[in-house]
Structures are given as structure tokens and as C-alpha cells.
């Protein structure tokens, strides 16, 4: 199997597996317990917290709070900020956020919040002047992602943070789920107040995430109950998963593989665009403004779902931007916001690489894909 779907999820790294395994067997205590076993568990959680803080470049270890997943982190960040300042009823976000942000903001809009949905250019980039113009005294929150999950396009959160600080008193939340482990991050030198991450995107298992909460930021709890995580997030800590997240962050920092992944991605992207006539890139051509692991490519007049199925039969895992639900055939909100034509958006494929991909796998993909596209192009009633 050739796995080119690392933006969906990643395999658990062997180092991560080894680190978490003892916590699924002999170290089974509750980190809130006062006995020796409990204290050992607590120690493991705190080590993981340091590892996460270090990867994110947090100023203080206590700025890291563990959650169950990236979506929980995003939901909590948004609702937690609004709960502390009920008089402010304005939110700024983008049209290309992940559903964990987009759908929460959509619900808030239905509840009467005023939401500004910033658009993007055809290359997927934000207009920072539009952000500047949208900021108001009653803006409670600005929620903007660091890396787009579909195209890999990066938003300049350093600059965005400065604009938010300069022109408003809004809290700045960043959905960083797709970026962590793929590019260097240094939160202490930014104006980011809240930053969400998810473990399974960087070789930890599914079911663990974290939220960076800048010191002294007031944030209402989302899950209420016990006094865990300094009363910020109730629920018994998932120690094996948290240890795994820590180990994954440590691995990402020690051996980041960014260059190696980028070289393979470039080879794949260049190869596809050169070999296949109806292929075009979605997102900016400027690779410095995209994640080093992602290539989102449209094959015009061909159905993405069918490309996915034939690649799957060839043992290659990818994602498509188009999803055929029972009653609609919608292309992705991100590609729609970028004004990608319908016939191209329906044929979009996301290739997302990771640290375990090899040159031989990219060669195989480049050999198999043109035949698949040719076969499917011959099936299209739009192609003569």
C-alpha cells in the first residue's frame, strides 16, 4: 500500500507506539490519584506537556491543555472565548476553515452572532486588507487556520496576529491542526492566543488533541466536571494517548523530515503536472506559501471519486475534494471559495505525503496515475 493521505490521518510512529505501550499495561493509574502509581502517571503527562510546548514554541508549559481531538480544541476555543465576553457579538473567520471551525461559526450565526466570512483569492490566499477592514470594537474573536487541510495553503498568522492586536481587542484563535509537525511553529513570538492541534495528524493515535491557551487569557471551560487540567478541561486524562502525543511532538522536533517530504512532494506534483494534460494545481504556485507535504490537483472533466477508487485498486490511498452525498454532489467549500470551476473541482485529488513515503512509491504513483486519468477521460461524455 502507498499511503498518500497523511492530511487525513497518519500511521502511529514506532517510537510513539513504544512510548505509549507501558501506559496500556503496567502503568494504568489515574494521574489525579495521590499514590505512587498515580504520581508516576502525572509525571508522564507533564513530560508530554513539555514536549508539546516545546514543539509549538510555547513560552510556558502550562499553556498546553490536553483534549480529545482537534475538533474539541477548536469548539472549545471559539465557544470558550465568546462565553467570557457575552456583550461582544462579532466573529471573523474565513470561508475555507475546516468544518470544526466553519460549522461552529455557522451555528453561532444562526444564534444571532454577526460573522464575517473572509474570502480567498483564486490561489487560496487571504486579503489582509479585508481583515483589517472587518475588525471592530465589538469583535470578540478572529479564528483563522494556519494551513488549509485541502490545498495546504498557509495563512500568515504572524502578520494576521499583529493586525488583530493593532486594530482590535479581539482574541486570536488559530486552527493549527494541519500544520503541526509539518512546518516549524513558534507561538511565543506571535500574537496567537489560542492554537488547536490534533495528535493523529503527526503520528500519534486518534483520540488526542491539545489546545494552546496563552497565559492570562480568560477562557470558559467547555467540558465541566472534575478539577483536571487546572479546572480548564474536566475528564480523566487519557494518559496513553497523551504520552503518545508527547512522543510524537518530540519525534517531529528531533527529526522533522520536512525537507525529505518536500522533495518527494515536488517530484510528485511536477511529474503529474508535466505528464497529464488536463491536470492543474489548486492553490498558490509559490511553494513557500504551502505545506511541504500537500499537492491538491484537479483533473478536469474526470470525477474525483472515480480516480480515488481506481487508485485504491492500485493500492494507492488519496482523498478527493468532491464528496457525493446522498442528495447533493458538492465540491469542497475551499475549492468553491477559490472559484475553481465546477468541472475541475469535481475532479480534485489531494495527495498528502508523510515521513514514511519513499521515492519508489512516488515513481509508482507517477506510473499508475496517467493511465487512470486516460481511462477515466475516455469515460467522460464531455471529452470528445
Amino acid at each position: 500500500m502507498i499511503y498518500l493521505d497523511n492530511n487525513a490521518t497518519t500511521r502511529v510512529a514506532p517510537e510513539v507506539f513504544d512510548a505509549m505501550q507501558p501506559y496500556l499495561s503496567k502503568f494504568f493509574g489515574n494521574p489525579s490519584s495521590a499514590h505512587t502509581l498515580g504520581r508516576e502517571m502525572k509525571q508522564a503527562v507533564e513530560t508530554a506537556r513539555e514536549q508539546v510546548a516545546s514543539l509549538l514554541g510555547a513560552a510556558d508549559t502550562n499553556e498546553i491543555v490536553f483534549t480529545s481531538c482537534g475538533s474539541e480544541s477548536d469548539n472549545w476555543a471559539i465557544r470558550g472565548v465568546l462565553a467570557t465576553q457575552p456583550a461582544k457579538r462579532h466573529i471573523i473567520t474565513t470561508q475555507v476553515e475546516h468544518e470544526a471551525v466553519r460549522n461552529v461559526c455557522g451555528l453561532l450565526e444562526k444564534d444571532g452572532y454577526d460573522v464575517t466570512w473572509l474570502g480567498v483569492s483564486e490561489t487560496g490566499e487571504l486579503d489582509l486588507d479585508a481583515l483589517r477592514a472587518a475588525l471592530r470594537p465589538e469583535t470578540a474573536l478572529v479564528s483563522i487556520m494556519l494551513a488549509n487541510n485541502e490545498t495546504g495553503v498557509l495563512f500568515p498568522i504572524d502578520e494576521i496576529g499583529r493586525i488583530v492586536r493593532e486594530h482590535s481587542e479581539a482574541v486570536f484563535h488559530v486552527d493549527g491542526v494541519q500544520a503541526v509537525g509539518k512546518i516549524p511553529i513558534d507561538l511565543k513570538n506571535t500574537e496567537v492566543d489560542l492554537f488547536a492541534l490534533s495528535g493523529h495528524k503527526l503520528h500519534a493515535p486518534q483520540g488526542v488533541g491539545a489546545l494552546y491557551v496563552r497565559n492570562n487569557l480568560s477562557l470558559a471551560p467547555f467540558i465541566v466536571g472534575g478539577a483536571q487540567e487546572q479546572r480548564r478541561r474536566a475528564g480523566t486524562l487519557a494518559v496513553p494517548n497523551i504520552v503518545a502525543l508527547g512522543a510524537a511532538c518530540e519525534l517531529a522536533e528531533r527529526d522533522d523530515c520536512h525537507k525529505q517530504v518536500e522533495t518527494l512532494r515536488d517530484k510528485l506534483e511536477d511529474g503529474i503536472l508535466e505528464q497529464i494534460p488536463n491536470a492543474c494545481l489548486n492553490g498558490t504556485q509559490d511553494r513557500a506559501k504551502r505545506l511541504p507535504n500537500t499537492a491538491n490537483i484537479s483533473f478536469e472533466h474526470v470525477e474525483g471519486q472515480n480516480i480515488l477508487l481506481l487508485l485504491d485498486q492500485a493500492g494507492i490511498c488519496v482523498s478527493t475534494g468532491s464528496a457525493c452525498h446522498s442528495t447533493t454532489h458538492e465540491s469542497s467549500a475551499t475549492l468553491k471559495a477559490m472559484n475553481v470551476p465546477y468541472t475541475a473541482a469535481q475532479g480534485s485529488i489531494r495527495f498528502s505525503l508523510g515521513r514514511y513515503n519513499t521515492d519508489a512509491e512516488i515513481e509508482t504513483t507517477l506510473r499508475v496515475l496517467p493511465e487512470i486519468i486516460e481511462k477515466l477521460s475516455a469515460m467522460s461524455p464531455y471529452v470528445l
Binding site: 472533466h301 470525477e303 471519486q305 472515480n306 477508487l309 457525493c324 446522498s326 442528495t327 447533493t328 454532489h329 465546477y342 469535481q346 475516455a378 469515460m379 467522460s380 461524455p381 464531455y382
Partner: protein, 175 residues
Amino acid sequence: MGDADEPNFVGRAASLICGAHVRFSLQVDGEHIVSQAKFKAAGCNVLVASSSLLTERVVNIPTADAAVIGQDATALRTNFIGLEAEREHCSQLACDALMAAIREYSDAARGEWVGDEALICTCFFVSEHTIEREIATRALRTVAEVTRACNAGGGCGSCHQLIQEILDTQDDLPR
């Protein structure tokens, strides 16, 4: 997959729900047997699979039998185990395109027909005279009643309008 060799009969269907588009092309021999069936589709995997299954099933059988298969999208959908009923519109779209291609053939066959009596239903080979006689003797009032009485209109449906016109004319006559 592809296009049937010329001369062929083409039928299309498109969905306003999802934007999918499918085209069937059939080649039919002198005995009304489908000798080639091909499709091209821009749509989901269910549409492609439905179209592919249909082209396999309708080849080497009479157009009338092919029309009977094309009438039942539900039966076609049940080939895909675990598929939600809401996806039936994908199978339906494939059936619609097949039926359109068969009607295209039937209309052409009707036009080319040389015989003593005008041919109305090309699927089941029913003449205008037979239909008039059935309407008169059994006092038929609807197309469905005509189909039940003599099979006319039971295949591709391309002659429903013609049968209705015959019914309308008969209505005008004193009984």
C-alpha cells in the same frame, strides 16, 4: 464504456440534483437485437457501476427486453449491497439514459417501417389497427389500459403519445 459503432442510437440523462451526466449508445441489428451497448458518464461511482451493469445486461437481447430492464431502477440498485435508498437516483439516471436510447431506436424503426398497417409499438410490434380494435372492442380509455390489453407501450414508452392520440381520435367517434 465508450461509444457504440455507427449507426447507433444515443440517449442522454442528466441530474439537476447532483449535476451528473450519462450518455448511452446502442447499436441494434435487423432483428431488433441490441448488438452493442456502451456508455460514457460524468458522475459518481454508483452511476458508473449502474451504467456498466446495464450495458452488460442489455447486450444480445431484444430492445423490448432491454426496455423492461431499464424500467426498474430499484432492481438495479439492489445489486449494490448496503447502498442507501437515497442513491437510487444515481441508478435511475443510468436507466433514464438507456431508455432514451431505446426510444431513439424505436422512433427511427417506426419511421422506417414499411408495411400495410402503421406500426405504433416497435418494442412489442403492435400496429395502429390492432390498437384501434382493442380500444373499440374493450372500451379502453387510458394508455395504461391499452398496454394491459395488447402490450403496446409496455417497453420503451416512445409510443405513449401516439397511443394517446389514437385514444383521443376514438373518443371523437360515436360509440
